[in-house]
């Protein structure tokens, strides 16, 4: 489990994380929702040891993120950030190979190559293997990055808004894929989402944040209620049952 204990982070006096204590990373998919500036990305940054919190501690499977060896953590925890700008021209294959760095330190063994091949196959990227990233569509690009994270072969996979800038079809595709990764490969997926309907449909647990605090933490059925969502997003949300599933209507 990934355990946060009283984690706080401030930027210029503005509190982004306010004594957050939470444990997540059980089997399945956990969705992290909340308005912009709620502290979701900062939370990921703290867990992914990119941001050092002012107070509190983060432990992944019992080892403290602040003191554990970075290269060891990279074998248990993979983080896919929101924007992945790369100055150099890389092919899909090159990118996915990078996922093996924590294990191989750059010298790929047969096992490493096997992982790379399987990750590429799993994300149906065989035909694009030797294409450059800048020659891919947004959906294919995102899949390539997920393949890299998958090749890293970690227990936990954290994805920060992987649906950004994707169309309907690709959003659904990525979410189904994350679901499959959790169900078939036993990955513990933690994903930041903005579309609460995606969160409700594909995740086992939803953690809602607001103003640097966790304000709700439950299954989809309990979160998908107008009063809960309105409190999280500070906007009017209607929830209807369609075919036995809760659907939030926030278009007005």
């Amino acid at each position: 489990m990934i355990v946060l204990d009283g984690v706080s982070k401030r930027y210029n006096g503005h509190t982004v994380l306010d004594e957050v204590s939470i444990a997540f990373g059980a089997e399945g998919v956990t969705a992290l929702i909340g308005p912009n500036g709620a502290g979701k990305s900062t939370l990921f940054g703290v867990v992914g040891r990119l941001i050092r919190p002012e107070a509190g501690r983060v432990a992944v499977d019992g080892s403290d993120v602040a003191t554990a060896r970075s290269s060891d953590l990279a074998k248990t925890l993979a983080v896919l950030r929101q924007d992945n700008h790369i100055a150099a021209r890389l092919t899909v294959h090159d990118l996915v190979e990078f996922g093996r760095f924590p294990h191989s330190k750059g010298r790929l063994t047969v096992t490493d190559r096997d992982h790379v091949d399987r990750a590429i196959e799993y994300l149906a990227l065989d035909d694009f293997r030797n294409r450059f990233l800048d020659e891919l569509s947004g959906g294919q690009r995102q899949r390539a990055f997920i393949a890299m994270v998958l090749a890293q072969d970690t227990k936990y996979i954290l994805l920060d808004e992987p649906l950004n800038n994707l169309d309907l079809r690709h959003m659904t595709e990525i979410m189904k894929l994350l679901r499959r990764m959790a169900d078939e490969l036993g990955k513990r997926v933690i994903v930041v989402l903005h579309d609460i309907n995606f969160a409700a449909t594909y995740s086992d647990r939803i953690v809602a944040m607001r103003d640097g605090r966790v304000v709700a933490d439950a299954g989809a059925a309990e979160i998908m209620r107008p009063e809960v969502l309105e409190a999280v997003y500070d906007t009017k949300v209607d929830v209807r049952q369609i075919d036995g599933r809760p659907v939030a209507l926030y278009y007005s």
Binding site: G48, R49, L50, R69, S70, S71, D72, L73, A74, K75, A78, V79, L80, R81, N84, H85, I86, A87, A88, R89, L90, D94, F98, G99, F101, P102, K105, G106, R107, Q152
Partner: protein
Amino acid sequence: MLTDTVTGRTPAPARLGALWARPGLRLALLAVVALTLVAVYFFTDVPGSLAFAVKIRSLTVLAMLLVATAVGVSTVVFHTITQNRILTPSIMGFDAFYVLVSTVIVFFLGSASFLGADPLTLWLVQVVVMVAFSVFLFTWLFGGKRRSIHLMLLVGIVLGTFFRSFTEWMQRMLDPLDFQVLSDAMFASLTRPDETLLLLTGAVVLLACAAVPPLLRILDVLTLGEPAAVGLGVNHRRTLLMLFTIVSVMIAASTALVGPILFFGLIVANLAYSYAGTFRHVWTLPTAVLIGVICLLGGQIVLEQVFNLGGSLSMVIEFAGGLFFLYLVLRKGAR
């Protein structure tokens, strides 16, 4: 791969293409060109004793090799660290700092001391001061809480501008003769280097180079940017401090030997990226070095043989480099 259906053999153009796709072959080709140029430089137009000509000229070749290595390696590494390919380490104010240090020496001690001073002491002072300055800048702005490479670059630019203005102010108050000596010394000169300094610079550059191979694969990972590199288990701060020290030492040593060269690294690194056809530093670093040697030596040969000029190579390189920089900026803007 394209295969001929009748004979089952790969057609010749495709085979050539596959060969050309191998970075090793491309690099070997560059090495051949570079060696040919060395031979041409050594053996054409020998006025007297061949042995003497080779001895004198090998000093120039060695100086070029050192400059090409220092500039090529440091620029490529700097590009990877900063995730930006139109910067050079000189943006941090390296060259400006070098000119400032020289100006301060002439200002306070006079040009006689500058000319008469032991070149070794001068070199040492400049190298130490430059490396100390850049490492200080790094630890101050990157070692602390903020850890922003962009802040560091920005401060570098601001300091560089400050150094330049300060230098200009001091130079205005210089004796005209002192000023002339100084401005002459501030143009990079590759021919006729001091032998002791050359060996010393060689040792320093070689030492810095020796630190690079264990970092090659980490450099590759840094191509992905800091967040991804940290996610893959790279100790970002420590690695950057190491790389940054290597860059500073190389730039300082080569600048103190031949003088400041601004745009050369930019040309060399960007040509290397497109020529090597891969992002892997195992290939881009030596490619950049060899392209540097070819540019310097080829330029020198053309200048000497075709235009009958000596010594002005650095100006030609700066001119071409400046144009190339504009081209890069405009191309980026057009996209």
